[in-house]
């Protein structure tokens, strides 16, 4: 009896109990789907973070008041912000820092004509756009001259442009930000969403304009700094920390009341988190596969009992023990392989759905699929051996007389 005819026979037997066969595969389906989905989502998240971080600009450091550099928590209240004086000091003293920019931001209502939108309004010095490598799609960026004069001008993100001007060219038009009028001089290139936030829902004006008209004082919410080279990032970080410790009178040994962050740390953190989650899910998947295997064994044992007479007939007309063993082993293997295939399908579909919902890239995990499939086939063989052996060792006469 060839393997092909065994497979055909097994398929016919499984078809007779379609519902039961499908339910039996459920454990395998869940196990495989978990692996595939986790792999797809983990890779998607990593790719997404990588993309988001590269969108921030190269060699970038992000200096915020308050939080210790060991945490990614929000800025603590009551901690003094930075000043332009701090920036000047860094500019003068930190040799590994290239571009530098002051920034402060608030969510404010922007009004143009009959439209209005609460958006992220930021005052930034011109270096900001260099560091973030962010140019305009139309018009121009604020210049040093605008900064010096605290000119009432602004550049807007794509979303704001769409919302306030509905497809019209906004350049030259006036937007009132919290009752402060400013003229649109440029529309920024589209950046898309990152970390759940729309990066095009922004309005930038010169830092000086923002400070004087909207805040009423020299308050730098955060500093962006670019190291002069990728391998100088850590050095730049040390220099900035040292300068700010001195200026903010942090005694040696005390924890800093500000943090110099490297966005790549987020990537490293995410890798750790993904690793932990993958290990956890691999455990769950492993348990699920074992449970699924036991389910297959159970159903195969039931099937052997139900079909004892059939086995008796086959033995009587000359089937060898090996033929019967092959028949049931192939059946168990097809069952688990089927579960593996369904699981891959479910996992991919699930990952696709989640990727759509949380807006991360959808990645088909290349290696995980054949591995998961292979494991499910092995589970079928492993757990199918016992029932198949039991079937093959039946006594022909006893099997024939079995009711």
């Amino acid at each position: 009896m060839t393997l092909l005819s065994s497979a055909r026979l097994a398929w016919a037997a499984l078809r007779r109990n379609t519902m039961r066969s499908l339910l039996t595969t459920l454990g395998i389906v869940i196990g495989v789907a978990a692996v595939v989905m986790m792999q797809s989502m983990g890779r998607g998240a990593t790719a997404y973070v990588g993309e988001a971080i590269s969108g921030l600009g190269s060699n970038m450091l992000f200096v915020v008041p308050g939080a210790s550099s060991r945490t990614f928590g929000a800025t603590a209240l009551g901690v003094p912000l930075f000043t332009t004086g701090d920036l000047d000091a860094i500019h003068r003293l930190a040799r590994d820092v290239g571009a530098l920019a002051a920034a402060n931001a608030r969510v404010l209502r922007a009004v143009a004509g009959g439209n209005n939108r609460a958006t992220n309004v930021a005052g930034v010095t011109p270096g900001y756009f260099d560091i973030r490598q962010w140019g305009v799609a139309r018009g121009r960026l604020p210049s040093l001259e605008d900064e010096r004069q605290a000119a009432p001008v602004c550049v807007i993100g794509h979303t704001v442009s769409d919302e306030l001007f509905a497809g019209q060219d906004p350049i030259g038009h006036e937007i009132r930000v919290h009752d402060v009028p400013c003229r649109v001089i440029g529309v920024l290139e589209e950046k898309g969403a990152a970390f759940g936030a729309d990066r095009d829902d922004v309005l930038f004006m010169p830092y000086a304009t923002f400070s004087r008209r909207l805040v009423g004082g020299d308050r730098v919410g955060y500093i962006l700094a670019a190291a002069i080279a990728p391998d100088r990032i850590d050095a730049a970080r040390e220099e900035i920390a040292a300068i700010l410790r001195q200026r903010r009178h942090v005694p040696p040994g005390e924890v800093e009341d500000f943090a110099v962050r490297d966005p790549r740390e987020i990537e490293a953190l995410l890798d750790t988190v993904t690793g932990i989650l993958t290990a956890l899910l691999a455990g769950v998947a492993g348990i699920s596969l074992v449970v699924g295997g036991i389910g297959i064994m159970n159903i195969m044992l039931v099937s052997v009992t139900e079909r004892t007479r059939e086995i008796g007939i086959r033995l009587a007309v000359g089937a060898r023990g090996g033929d019967i063993l092959a028949q049931f082993l192939v059946e168990a293997t097809i069952l688990s392989a089927l579960g593996g295939l369904i699981g891959i399908g479910v996992g991919l579909a699930g990952a696709f759905g989640v990727a759509r919902v949380i807006h991360v890239p959808y990645i088909v995990p290349g290696v995980a699929m054949p591995v998961a499939f292979g494991v499910s086939v092995l589970v079928g063989i492993g757990f199918g051996v016992f029932p198949a052996r039991k079937a093959s060792q039946l006594n022909p006469l006893a099997a024939l007389r079995f009711e």
Binding site: M1, E310, I313, R314, A316, V317, G318, L397, L400
Partner: protein, 225 residues
């Protein structure tokens, strides 16, 4: 084929189905084994058909003792030399007549095309040409038994063993089945052993062996009909 003496004692649980029975069957014979229930005739049949081995004594096929043969060799012998017909037909359910008849050929390792050809021929020989695709549960009892005979026949066996082949059929169909078996015996000189307690069936055979309490109490021949 000349089958030689076989003696069998069932020691387990003090039930002695067969008590040192000796029986020779020569090739081409048509033997009816009769006797009351529990006399050991079905057990005898199972041993002859290699479905089980004697617990004591010796069974030889063409002079070769079978008790030392492996399960696989016994299976191959069943496949090549014996055909079985049972009281309850024992066809695979939800399976076509053709596939049922092909079954022994599958295990004989014969290719699909040749299998189908021989199975069709066997079905035609039992008068079921045209019913190849009927599922076993769509067939009448007599038809099912004829499919079973075709299955027993398809491997060109030397012996057909029929255990109460008419037990589940009405007398008319039973007669047809017996005539069919007698014809196969006559035309193909297949050795036929039937177990029955119906004297009308036994009358088709040329030799009657009567069992009682695990022993042979009579072994007589009648002239061929």
């Amino acid at each position: 084929m000349c089958s030689v003496s076989k003696v069998y004692g069932e020691q387990l649980s003090a039930v002695q189905a067969l008590d040192h029975v000796g029986l020779d069957v020569a090739q081409g014979e048509f033997v009816a084994i009769t006797g009351p229930s529990g006399s050991g005739k079905s057990t005898m049949m199972s041993i002859i058909g290699l479905l089980e081995l004697p617990s004591d004594g010796e069974y030889r096929i063409e002079g070769v003792p079978v008790q030392d043969l492996s399960r696989d060799v016994l299976a191959a012998l069943r496949n090549a030399r014996f055909g079985f017909v049972f009281q309850t037909f024992n066809l695979l359910p939800r399976t076509s007549a053709l596939e049922n008849v092909e079954l022994p050929l599958v295990y004989a390792g014969i290719g699909a095309r040749e299998r189908a050809r021989r199975a069709r021929a066997a079905l035609a020989a039992v008068g079921l040409a045209g019913r190849e695709d009927a599922r076993s549960n769509q067939l009448s009892g007599g038809e099912q038994q004829r499919v079973a005979i075709a299955r027993a026949l398809v491997n060109d066996p030397e012996v057909i063993l029929a255990d109460e082949p008419t037990g589940n059929l009405d007398s008319k169909m039973g007669k047809e089945i017996m005539q069919l078996l007698a014809r196969l015996n006559r035309e193909r000189s297949i050795t036929i052993l039937i177990v029955t307690h119906d004297p009308n069936c036994a009358a088709y055979a040329e030799r009657q062996v009567v069992f009682r309490d695990g022993r042979i109490i009579a072994d007589s021949r009648t002239a061929s009909p």
